[in-house]
């Protein structure tokens, strides 16, 4: 029999939860790797505080102005702003933040009711909730100053609104917890998230092109928003202000319905967790029993079982690394998505600046577009080379245990990246030709030459950077997924130098009046860069041996 004197009550447990969240925040600061990380957090904290306080004034003034000028029906806008912030911001943060599995609290002796209340309490203790409550309080204050008789209604509606928001946020949060706990769904979620963020770039061109035509359609759907909490809260307040009891009662009743429904759904979610729902990776996938010998034969027949012979001119170890890189790419949703970026960006830039763009007077000629876009795309595509071992994890040990020269690993990685860049640039160039037309033959050849030089020239330094400043990254995570600071600065410095060289050569061609001079110059530079690359492999192999402890320690952490 455990000698527990008594189980702490709900208030005491809520205090414990608040303490836990505070400790997590405090320890998160303590674990910052360097002072720049800490400075970043402090700056973000100050910025966050300013945002909350500044918007408190804005909400106060907004509520005051709307009620003082008898425009209470517009109060819905303020409620909507808070509603969107409260529901969207935590989703945004979920991908980046440390994922605390709330259900881990189930190891403690909690009743289902207490677990539910703690879950709600947990929802009150995050940045979105605290800031939203501050803004709502400011709104209530602003409304009360403008129309003191509205205070009871505003307060009651705000309390309901808070309860709905915290319940809905916890409901979405618990589903997100479930999604993010499993690797596949987590990666899919983050991939879609990034893609949607990239898609925002197209908002402006799309609005410019289709905005006028689409606005009547959008207006058609606006009335449906009246059934959502932001509109209902605004309607209840407006009804009270305008002496319209029907609007007030409908709004308040609607909020109650929302509260009951979201509470019921959240109760079901928490009940599933309480019963011991398994959401993590440890639930192993169902095995698919196959005859492996025949499966291998089938794969062989499909030609998918090759482990190097498909690259006849390179050693088997290099080919094995190339194949492994290919497989890693296809299983890294984020990296895979970055392959979509170049063609997307070509379409985006040509929509913005190409012929027929919204900014016709600033439209660029193919002569400028080709080298500019090529430089931009290489900038995007080559950046992973500066931290080429980021995703190896503990697998890095295999390279050091195997009987090979490390240059084989570097060559395999570089070969794969070069092939990938070639495919991506070919696709992007085809899109460019379609969107803006062909440049002159000389400029086309010069651009290709510049691209080859830029890639070849950077690979040597990128290899050195990968060995000297490794930084572990994890597939399917967003928090902290960036190269080390020195690798970033190295990449930036090299890219500036390469871009400057390319620009000078292209301008020299113009000054000399011979459009083929850049093409010849880039050919020479590419040959020289290739020679430098070949010569660097031996020393880099020795450097890898020297840096193996750093690599293993950093990547196996």
């Amino acid at each position: 029999m455990a000698d527990v004197a008594r189980v702490p009550g709900v208030p005491a447990q809520l205090r414990l939860i608040a303490g836990l969240r505070w400790s997590l925040l405090k320890n998160g600061l303590r674990q910052k790797n360097n002072r720049w990380d800490l400075v970043g957090v402090i700056v973000a904290g100050v910025f966050g505080a300013l945002l909350v306080v500044g918007l408190c004034f804005a909400f106060f003034a907004g509520a005051y102005a709307l009620l003082a000028k008898n425009r209470a029906s517009w109060m819905a806008l303020l409620f909507w702003a808070i509603f969107l912030w409260w529901q969207v911001f935590p989703v945004f943060v979920a991908g980046f933040g440390a994922n605390f599995e709330f259900k881990t609290l189930l190891r403690f002796p909690l009743s289902r009711r207490t677990f539910y209340l703690l879950g709600l309490g947990y929802g009150f203790a995050d940045f979105a909730a605290v800031s939203a409550i501050c803004w709502l309080a400011a709104m209530v204050l602003g409304a009360a100053v403008a129309r003191p008789e509205v205070l009871p209604v505003m307060a009651a509606v705000s309390v309901l609104f808070v309860l709905i928001n915290v319940t809905l946020e916890r409901l979405i949060g618990s589903w997100l917890e479930k999604i993010l706990a499993r690797r596949k769904t987590r990666e899919l979620f983050i991939g879609l998230f990034v893609l949607s963020m990239v898609s925002l770039n197209f908002l402006n061109p799309v609005l410019q092109r289709y905005g006028r035509a689409a606005s009547p359609k959008i207006l058609e759907y606006l009335p449906y928003l009246a059934w959502l909490p932001g509109s209902l809260a605004g309607s209840a307040v407006a009804g009270a202000v305008h002496g319209d009891p029907r609007a007030f009662l409908l709004g308040t009743a609607g909020l109650f319905v929302w509260l009951v429904v979201t509470s019921g759904l959240l109760w079901r979610r928490f009940a599933a967790q309480y019963r011991g729902e398994e959401i993590s990776e440890s639930a192993a996938p169902t095995p698919t029993k196959r005859n492996t010998a025949s499966a291998a034969a089938a794969e062989e027949a499909r030609g998918q079982n090759s482990n190097g012979e498909w690259l006849p001119l390179v050693p088997a170890t290099v080919a094995a690394v190339v194949l492994k890189e290919f497989r890693y790419l296809t299983r890294n949703g984020m990296a895979f998505l970055t392959l979509l970026l170049p063609p997307i960006m070509v379409v985006f830039f040509t929509l913005q600046f190409g012929k027929g763009s919204a900014l016709r007077e600033h439209s660029l000629k193919p002569e400028m577009f080709f080298p500019a876009i090529m430089a931009y795309l290489i900038l995007i595509l080559i950046s992973p080379a500066y931290n080429a071992f980021a995703y190896e994890g503990k697998g890095i040990q295999t390279y050091f245990m195997a009987p090979l020269r490390f240059q084989d690993v570097l060559m395999g990685k570089n070969l794969f990246l070069a092939a990938l860049i070639t495919v991506e640039l070919s696709l992007s160039l085809a899109l460019l030709v379609w969107r803006v037309g062909w440049p002159s033959a000389a400029m086309f050849v010069a651009t290709i030459g510049a691209g080859a030089f830029a890639v070849m020239g950077q690979l040597t330094i990128a290899n050195w950077s990968s060995l000297s400043f490794p930084k572990k990254m994890e597939i399917g995570k967003m928090k902290g997924q960036r190269n080390s600071g020195i690798a970033v600065w190295t990449a930036l410095g090299v890219q500036i130098v390469v871009a400057a060289i390319c620009t000078v050569i292209i301008l020299a061609g113009r000054l000399l009046g011979n459009a083929w001079v850049p093409a010849m110059a880039f050919t020479g530079l590419t040959v020289a860069a290739a020679g430098g690359y070949a010569a660097s492999l031996g020393p880099l192999s020795r450097l890898a041996e020297k840096k193996r402890e750093l690599l293993i320690e950093t990547l196996c952490r």
Partner: protein, 262 residues
């Protein structure tokens, strides 16, 4: 006199002011099942890392199969297999893809790699997880795969860092049989484990490292004989181990203080 598979001379590794491995002289005979024991932080993993090329020694020499590791790293690595601490797997590959990759990295041709990969997966009971990424394997499955990868090229020395940790009894039995067969064929197995019963059952020779220093080395009989007292012959490896690393009985005294637990 049988061939020496592993020999170290004053092998030392320091990390700043800490000497993790302090001038150890190991001698492991070929074909021997060798247990390398020590308490947490004694220097076992550091020693294995040095012997497998994952960590450079600060000073001292290592010879494996008569080859100086520093002078012939590639030749040595070709003849050894390793299950390192953390297992060293590429978690975004499937089991069969990883074995194919490792086979090719060790210089096996495609057909041999394929055949051995399939056979090893069958033996390790991982063949039905053909499409599953290693990231989704359980700990025990990862351990079995790491062992399969360590033996795919037919090594002459096998280094195993805690090979049975997290492996179920059924699989552990199969692994032990596999390792036993390998030693019969002359493969040297160098194993670390915290489970002293396993070491006692499998290993013919044992070395004990404590605070970076080699404090005992020899066959189990030699170690028993070296333990003071008339009961030396009947002592278990655990008792020998505890007497050598200097268990003072302080734990018992501390346990007495936890009266509320009993």
């Amino acid at each position: 006199m049988s061939e020496i598979a592993i020999a170290t001379e004053k092998l030392t590794r320091t990390f700043g002011a800490l000497t993790a491995v302090d001038a150890i002289d190991l001698k492991v005979q070929a074909g021997c099942f060798f247990g390398f024991l020590g308490p947490n932080g004694a220097g076992k993993s550091t020693t294995i890392k040095m012997l497998t090329g994952l960590l450079g020694p600060t000073s001292g020499r290592m010879e494996l199969l008569g080859l100086d590791f520093e002078k012939h790293p590639v030749e040595v690595k070709r003849q050894i297999g390793v299950v390192p601490e953390g297992m060293g797997l590429f978690e975004r590959l499937t089991g069969v893809e990883y074995l194919r990759f490792v086979g090719r990295m060790y210089g096996l041709d495609r057909a041999t790699t394929e055949k051995r990969a399939q056979e090893l997966l069958e033996f390790m009971q991982l063949a039905d997880r053909e499409k599953t990424l290693i990231a989704d394997y359980s700990h025990g499955m990862k351990k079995k795969l790491a062992l399969a990868a360590a033996v795919i090229h037919g090594p002459r020395i096998l280094f195993l860092d805690e090979p049975f940790e997290g492996v179920d009894a059924l699989a552990a039995g199969a692994l032990k049989a596999l390792l036993g067969r390998m030693t019969e064929r002359g493969v040297t197995i160098f194993l670390t484990s915290h489970v002293l019963e396993i070491v006692e059952r499998l290993c013919s020779h044992v070395a004990i490292i404590h605070q970076g220093r080699l404090v005992a080395q020899g066959s189990l009989e030699e170690l028993r004989a070296g333990v003071a007292g008339s009961e030396g012959d009947s002592k278990t490896l655990e008792q020998i181990f505890l007497s050598i690393v200097g268990q003072s009985g302080a734990e018992q005294a501390r346990l007495e203080e936890l009266t509320w637990l009993t």
